[in-house]
Each structure stands twice: as structure tokens, then as C-alpha cells.
């Protein structure tokens, strides 16, 4: 087993207090890692660094042995708050096809192969029946699946998801994590979540991030580790946990 992501002594701040302080993390191939921690604990920041969208102030991030901005095309990304306008006039199929961008030339459209791959990604996420629908007509859960299909259409080696179930109900949340579990047989998965209790049933390892980082195998998570991580928020977290 080789390390696909290696974060080495990384420090970061957005022109203020440190968000990440000397964080180191090795992620192995085919690992299913949960990145948890309180709000503003630096989870999304660390993920954005693995994608090359942010650069560390100190330390180094390597993904698939290269700099993140060189390897980001082998990574599928499902953002937390999609930056796009929900009313954008675009169909589900066109959205998923965007995962195929950057594979052909600089200009021009998609090939038949691109369409086949996008179709496969839609079948896998059960969104193929929505292919002709407009994005603005989808529910939160459907939109999340479409964004996963877009990420899968990149044919990624690593799938990174930022709070994939933040705004959807419990039943859909379970379905999405069941799908991630299945995908984990062929790719590394890194999922950011604030809900330790829920994801510990799925992920292989939990990295707890609150400015600094502590890793635990899932089995070892108990009240003390959570208490240490969230400090004041203990009651709420324990409620989730049981």
C-alpha cells in the first residue's frame, strides 16, 4: 500500500489566526477517511489544499506523488456549497459532462466516449433518469447525487467530498454513504463531515481536525476523544454518538 496523499507539517491562515497548525497526514490508497472536527476547524481548508485551490503558508502537500495543482485532474471533487447559481439554465447531463472537461483539447465539445463515461457515472449514482431535467428542478438530495456523478465522470483515483450530506435528510444520507462505500472498492475516498457519529459506521479512519490533527482508527472513537476535540460542544456530540 502506498500513500496517495501526504500532508507534511502544513500551516495555514486566511490573514488572521492560524486555521491549520503544523498538520501532517498520510492517506493510503483505497482508504476511506473521514475528516471531522468543529466548524471553522480547518477541514474544508485542508481539503482545498489537497486540491491545490489553496497553498500552504508552510509545509508541503503532495497528491499522487505530485503537487496538488498537477494531480487535481485525477481527483474528483464534490464541493459543499456549490458556487453556481441554482437557476443556471443547464441540464443534469450537461452538468455531469463537465467532469469530462480538460480531457480533450483546449477548445471544442465532448466526444462519444465522454458521453458514455458521463452516462455510466449517472447510472452509478442513479441520476440517469434525471438526465434531461434542469438543475433548478432538483431536490437537495438529487443535486448532491448529480454533483457526485460529475465528480465520478472525471474517472478519479481519489474522490474528495466536502460535507456531502449537509442539507439532506437522514435516509438520503445513508444512501449516499452506501454508494461511497461501494465506490471505495476502486478509489480512495476522503470525506469532510461535522458528524462523527454518523460517518464512523462507514469510514475506516477518522482524522480529527481542530487547528491541529489527531487520527483515530474508527473503533477507537470514544467520548474522551470527541470531548477533547470539541471541548464545549460535548453534549451535542454525545447525543449524535448514541
Amino acid at each position: 500500500m502506498s500513500s496517495v496523499v501526504s500532508v507534511n507539517d502544513v500551516t495555514f491562515s486566511y490573514s488572521g489566526p492560524k486555521v491549520l497548525d503544523r498538520v501532517s497526514l498520510e492517506i493510503q490508497e483505497r482508504e476511506f477517511l473521514g475528516l471531522v472536527g468543529p466548524n471553522a476547524g480547518g477541514k474544508s481548508t485542508l481539503l482545498k489544499m489537497m486540491l491545490g485551490l489553496l497553498k500552504p503558508l508552510a509545509g508541503e502537500v503532495r497528491v499522487l506523488g505530485r503537487r496538488p495543482e498537477q494531480s487535481c485532474r485525477q481527483v474528483g471533487y464534490v464541493p459543499q456549497y456549490p458556487l453556481f447559481n441554482r437557476e443556471f439554465p443547464i441540464s443534469v447531463e450537461q452538468t455531469v459532462l463537465m467532469g469530462r472537461l480538460g480531457t480533450a483539447g483546449l477548445f471544442g465539445g465532448y466526444s462519444g466516449r465522454d458521453r458514455a463515461i458521463a452516462r455510466q457515472a449517472m447510472i452509478e449514482t442513479e441520476t440517469h433518469e434525471l438526465a434531461g431535467r434542469q438543475l433548478c428542478t432538483l431536490s437537495g438530495g438529487q443535486l448532491q447525487r448529480v454533483l457526485m456523478a460529475r465528480a465520478l465522470a472525471c474517472e478519479p483515483q481519489i474522490l474528495m467530498l466536502d460535507e456531502p450530506t449537509a442539507n439532506i435528510d437522514m435516509r438520503v444520507e445513508t444512501e449516499i454513504f452506501d454508494l461511497l462505500k461501494k465506490l471505495n472498492s476502486r478509489m480512495t475516498i476522503i470525506v469532510v463531515s461535522h458528524d462523527v457519529g454518523f460517518i464512523s459506521g462507514y469510514v475506516g479512519r477518522v482524522a480529527c481536525l481542530n487547528q491541529t490533527l489527531v487520527c483515530h482508527p474508527t473503533a477507537a472513537i470514544d467520548g474522551d476523544t470527541i470531548r477533547g476535540l470539541y471541548e464545549a460542544d460535548v453534549k451535542m456530540v454525545e447525543h449524535h454518538h448514541h
Binding site: L51, G52, L53, C72, R73, V75, Y77, P79, P82, L83, F84, N85, E87, F88, P89, I90, S91, Q94, T95, L97, M98, G99, L101, G102, L106, F107, G108, G109, Y110, Q134, C136, R150, C154
Partner: protein, 283 residues
């Protein structure tokens, strides 16, 4: 109607109409991007600062439209760069470029020796002054816009939809973003003749915004916006002819009133549908 019999007799009216129809193509296609990407303010900055280039060209005895084209492209690149580099001060900086561009233009026009140009025709357009040379220039600009959009359709779509994701896929987002703004600049110059640089922003956004009420794909939106733009130009020109009203302003009023009606109609329709769904759910 008086306008249509006059159209057959007067070449200047024919040129005006052809010019208006040609401008509608650019405004429908690029206006759709301006609306979905919500860069109306950027487009406003580009169009107003164009006066600077026109003033300088006029001062040195060059073609004002050529000056407008150069100024529009320069302003698009500058505004794009501002937006990409100083996102936090974006609106102040664009507002500054907007006003400074106009101020430069006014200074140069004031200091131009000899017969003082009619400033109003730059600001509010003079569609009746369109001549065959201007028409050929407009055809050329439409071709540049259409070919660029044809070759970069998916890339423009990706950059308009989700810049961050496009960047992660290795799409040179900055390049396509600036190219799109340059197309906005070309469209602005295309429209200046018809409605003038102050009213450009209305014709750039209103047809596409109305189209977005009814169609939900980029291609259809471009087509419908172009047809709407053509209708507004034709109707505006015809209405203005009899009572001798300024054509540009009449065109904008027709577009604006149509937009407001369309907005009310679609909002009422949506409410009706929602109420019906709610009633069905209650049963």
C-alpha cells in the same frame, strides 16, 4: 403604417433596421452569458469606460468606433484582472474605472479643436446615422462573436457555471473568462451605434433576462434573446419614426416595459402553480 412605407423609400432607415438586427445577434448571444453569469455590473463598467477611448480617438482625428473597440477590449481586460485579483474591492474598483473612463472621454472631447461633436449621439446612440461601412463592421463583429462562441461553447459554459470546478479540470479559467469579457466588449461596441453607451447595458441584459423566464437551456436562451432583441429594435424604430422620438431610447423603453410585464406574468404564474400544488397536497 407610416414607418413601413418610409422604410421602402429611405436608405438611411433600411441601414438603421439592418444595423439594429445585426446588433441583436451579438446582444442575444453574449447577453445570455452576462445574465446567467450575473456580470451586468462588469458589462456596465466596460460600456461606460468606452467613452474614454472614443474621446481620445476623436481628439487625434481617428475613427471613434475604432477607438471604442480598443477601449472596450482594454477595459474588459482591466476589469477582468481587477475581478480576478482584488475580489474584495471589486465593486469600488469597477465603479472607479466606469467613472474615470467617462471623465477621460469628456475631457478629450471638450479639448478637441473645431466643431464640437454631438456628445449625446455617443451616449444615447444614433441608429439613423448607421451607414454601409458601419454595417460591414457590425457583420464582422457578429462573425467574431459567433465563431468564438461556437468554438468555446463548452468552455464558456463551464466557466460561467462553476469556475472552481473548471479550474480543477485543468480548464484555463482565466483565459476563457477574459475572452468572454472581450466578447462582451465587442458586443458593447456593436450596440453603441444603436442605443449609445449608456443604454447598452439594457439591451445587453433585458432580452436574455426575458428569455430566461421561458427557456432553460443556454442555446435556446441565445436564440430567443436574439429574436426578442430584433423585435424590440424593429418595434422601437417604428414607434419612434412617426413622432420623431430618439430611436435608442424608444427601443430601450419597449424592452424595459416588456421585461417588467414578463416578470409579473411569470411570477404570478409560478404562484398559481404553487397554490394549486399546495391545494392538491391538502386534499
Amino acid at each position: 403604417m407610416e414607418f413601413f412605407s418610409a422604410l421602402a423609400d429611405h436608405a438611411f432607415l433600411q441601414y438603421a433596421l439592418v444595423g439594429g438586427l445585426l446588433a441583436s445577434i451579438g446582444c442575444g448571444v453574449i447577453g445570455s452569458y452576462v445574465v446567467v453569469k450575473r456580470i451586468g455590473f462588469l458589462a456596465g463598467g466596460i460600456s461606460h469606460s468606452v467613452l474614454g477611448g472614443m474621446g481620445i480617438a476623436f481628439f487625434f482625428g481617428l475613427s471613434p468606433l475604432g477607438g471604442a473597440l480598443v477601449a472596450a477590449i482594454a477595459s474588459a481586460l482591466l476589469i477582468g484582472w481587477v475581478r480576478l485579483t482584488w475580489r474584495e474591492q471589486e465593486d469600488t474598483l469597477i465603479g472607479t474605472l466606469w467613472a474615470v473612463g467617462m471623465a477621460i472621454g469628456i475631457l478629450f472631447i471638450a479639448k478637441t479643436p473645431g466643431y464640437s461633436v454631438n456628445l449625446l449621439s455617443y451616449l444615447f446612440g444614433n441608429i439613423l446615422m448607421i451607414n454601409p461601412d458601419a454595417i460591414w463592421m457590425m457583420v464582422g463583429m457578429d462573425l467574431v462573436i459567433l465563431l468564438t462562441v461556437l468554438f468555446c461553447y463548452q468552455q464558456f459554459l463551464a466557466v460561467s457555471f462553476d469556475e472552481e470546478f473548471a479550474r480543477l479540470r485543468g480548464v484555463p479559467v482565466t483565459f476563457f473568462y477574459l475572452l468572454l469579457l472581450c466578447m462582451v466588449a465587442v458586443t458593447v461596441v456593436l450596440l453603441i451605434q444603436v442605443v449609445g453607451l449608456i443604454l447598452v447595458i439594457a439591451l445587453l441584459t433585458l432580452p436574455a433576462a426575458i428569455a430566461s423566464h421561458y427557456v432553460h437551456s443556454m442555446g435556446k436562451m441565445m436564440l430567443l434573446a436574439t429574436l426578442l432583441g430584433m423585435t424590440f429594435t424593429l418595434v422601437g424604430l417604428a414607434l419612434s419614426y412617426g413622432p420623431d422620438l430618439p430611436a435608442g431610447a424608444t427601443i430601450i423603453l419597449v424592452a424595459g416595459v416588456t421585461y417588467i410585464f414578463s416578470l409579473f406574468a411569470t411570477t404570478l404564474q409560478k404562484r398559481k402553480v404553487m397554490r394549486r400544488q399546495l391545494q392538491q397536497a391538502m386534499k
